[in-house]
């Protein structure tokens, strides 16, 4: 079973036999399941956080996704890689949430951070006490531009863009995850990129 870690360990000490771990977890081995989670959970949380820009929602997605994996691991038949299967679950949960936000039109410029609510437009990278005020202003405006651009994407465009640009996944794999073709994912990325370029036009 799980135990809250004192520190965050991303890698594994021993080489990972993923298929073996999956089969062991399918047979009820909790330690194997834990190792699988630890292998991927940082990526899962990063994707959810970046897609939703809300730590609270990202925590919910993390839990929902791994509980789904836990409940449905026996239905995993090695037809695709485990990480494609897992990321498919994660992106679907995130897409649902993004779509619900669009329906409710709740997208605001504010985002939750560990330090509380911060306006995306004014969100700025921490640069220390001696940072150049002009540079700070520039960073603030750039962050606002990126946030506004992302907020202007459709949930699907945002997902494809996030997975391709920030996660570095291939379009073929992204297509698999969101249930579309590589070509459709490519078109989606193109539209997203154009919109993002437009929102950052003054910086380029």
């Amino acid at each position: 079973m799980y135990h809250a870690a004192e520190t965050v360990n991303v890698g594994l000490a021993a080489p990972l036999d993923e298929s073996g771990l999956i089969r062991a977890a399918q047979n009820g081995d909790q330690d194997a399941f834990e190792r699988l989670v630890r292998e991927y959970d940082q990526s899962v949380l990063r994707i959810a956080t970046n897609l939703l820009r809300s730590p609270d929602e990202a925590r919910d997605v993390y839990q929902d996704a791994f509980l789904k994996v836990y409940r449905n691991l026996n239905s995993f038949r090695f037809d695709c890689s485990f990480h494609t299967w897992l990321y498919r679950i994660v992106t679907n949960i995130c897409l649902d949430r993004l779509r619900r936000r669009k329906v409710r039109k709740e997208e605001s410029t504010s985002v939750e951070t560990p330090d509380g609510m911060v306006d995306r437009v004014t969100q700025v990278r921490e640069e220390g006490a001696h940072a150049n005020p002009e540079r700070q202003m520039w960073n603030r405006e750039l962050s606002g531009g990126i946030a506004r651009g992302l907020a202007g994407l459709t949930p699907r465009e945002r997902t494809v863009f996030e997975l391709r640009h920030y996660e570095g996944l291939r379009l073929r794999e992204i297509g698999d995850m969101i249930g579309t073709t590589e070509e459709a994912a490519k078109n989606c990325l193109f539209r997203a990129t154009q919109k993002m370029r437009l929102s950052l036009e003054t910086f380029v």
Partner: protein, 318 residues
């Protein structure tokens, strides 16, 4: 390739998402076109700017998530364990019927069907039309949900469907199988209402009517488990009600002392004190003196002080 075509491919080219043939065409165009080279440089700058985005993830979030997942999985495992315990009783019924079938009914009749008939569980079932099922009169709804849709190697589609069938079980409160199901209901982690009603039946009907001594132990253990571990204060209170007739039992009194020290609900603590007060027990004095010093609720403090007075003990430990 002209400038328009090259412009459309530059974003994919930068991500390395063009075929080798297309890559060659783009590069060949770029070599001859200063305007498109400028556009390429601007696009690369744009991509660099995107990386200025503030990361939101910190390591404490991950630790927190792992801890919450751990708790959720424990609960899930506990629900699964209680469900499987609940069905053990029925498994025995089915085993009995299997023996019965060897005598009365031709061997190849499915045992499950015989069990349903013999127990009066009408076998009609409802399958939603979307799964190609047929609507039928039903006493047992079948709840289905699609869990995954995958292509399979043969070019067909493979759909995983979870099905949950509800059986309506009715019987005398004296029926050991019914009693066993009620005990299982006490530990049903997924539904506080079920836990509450199970305890109520055990308390109001099963225990007063009298059960075998082994079953009493089982009921008491289930109630103690609910008292110690149930997240719902209402269920814990109901468990205390059920335990009233065992108030003189040493195990129960130890559990009551534990409630005084650990339960976060003051009503539950007060109820526990009432039960402890029904039997004179000097060994409680130390616990009560300790608890009264830490107790936040004035009502609970007053109740403990009163109990200490009954036991002719002081409030302080001195």
């Amino acid at each position: 390739m002209n400038c328009l075509e090259a412009g459309k491919e530059i974003p994919n080219y930068c991500y390395g998402e063009v075929s080798s043939e297309l890559e060659e065409l783009v590069e060949s165009h770029l070599a001859d076109c200063p305007a498109c080279r400028t556009e390429l440089a601007r696009h690369r700058k744009f991509l660099e700017l995107l990386d200025e985005r503030e990361p939101m993830l910190d390591s404490s979030m991950l630790v927190q998530c792992r801890s919450q997942l751990n708790t959720a999985i424990r609960q899930q495992a506990s629900v699964e364990a209680s469900h499987s315990a609940g069905w053990r009783g029925w498994h025995r019924v089915l085993e009995t019927l299997r023996d019965f079938s060897r005598v009365q009914i031709p061997f190849k009749v499915p045992v499950g069907a015989m069990a349903l008939v013999a127990l009066g569980f009408v076998g009609a079932r409802y399958t939603p039309e979307k799964f190609g099922g047929v609507r039928a009169a039903t006493m047992e709804p079948l709840f289905s949900s699609v869990r995954s849709v995958e292509p399979n190697a043969g070019g067909q589609v493979q759909i995983a469907v979870d099905e949950t069938r509800r059986h309506i079980v009715s019987g005398s409160i004296q029926d050991p199988q019914i009693q066993e199901l009620l005990v299982s209901g006490v530990t049903d982690g997924s539904n506080a209402g079920v836990r509450l009603k199970s305890i109520q039946f055990l308390h109001d009907q099963v225990l007063p009517a009298g059960v075998g001594s082994a079953d009493v132990d089982q009921v008491r253990a289930a109630l103690l488990g609910a008292l110690r571990n149930d997240p719902s204060a209402a269920v814990r209170l109901k468990a205390l009600d059920g335990l009233k007739q065992f108030a003189s039992d040493a195990t129960v009194r130890t559990a009551l002392a534990g409630v005084l020290q650990k339960d976060e609900d003051s009503t539950v603590r007060m109820q526990a004190i009432e039960m402890l007060a029904t039997h004179h027990d000097d060994s409680l004095v130390g616990v009560l003196q300790n608890v009264v010093q830490k107790e936040d609720s004035p009502l609970v403090r007053a109740q403990i002080t009163q109990l200490l007075a009954q036991l002719k003990a002081s409030v302080g430990t001195y």
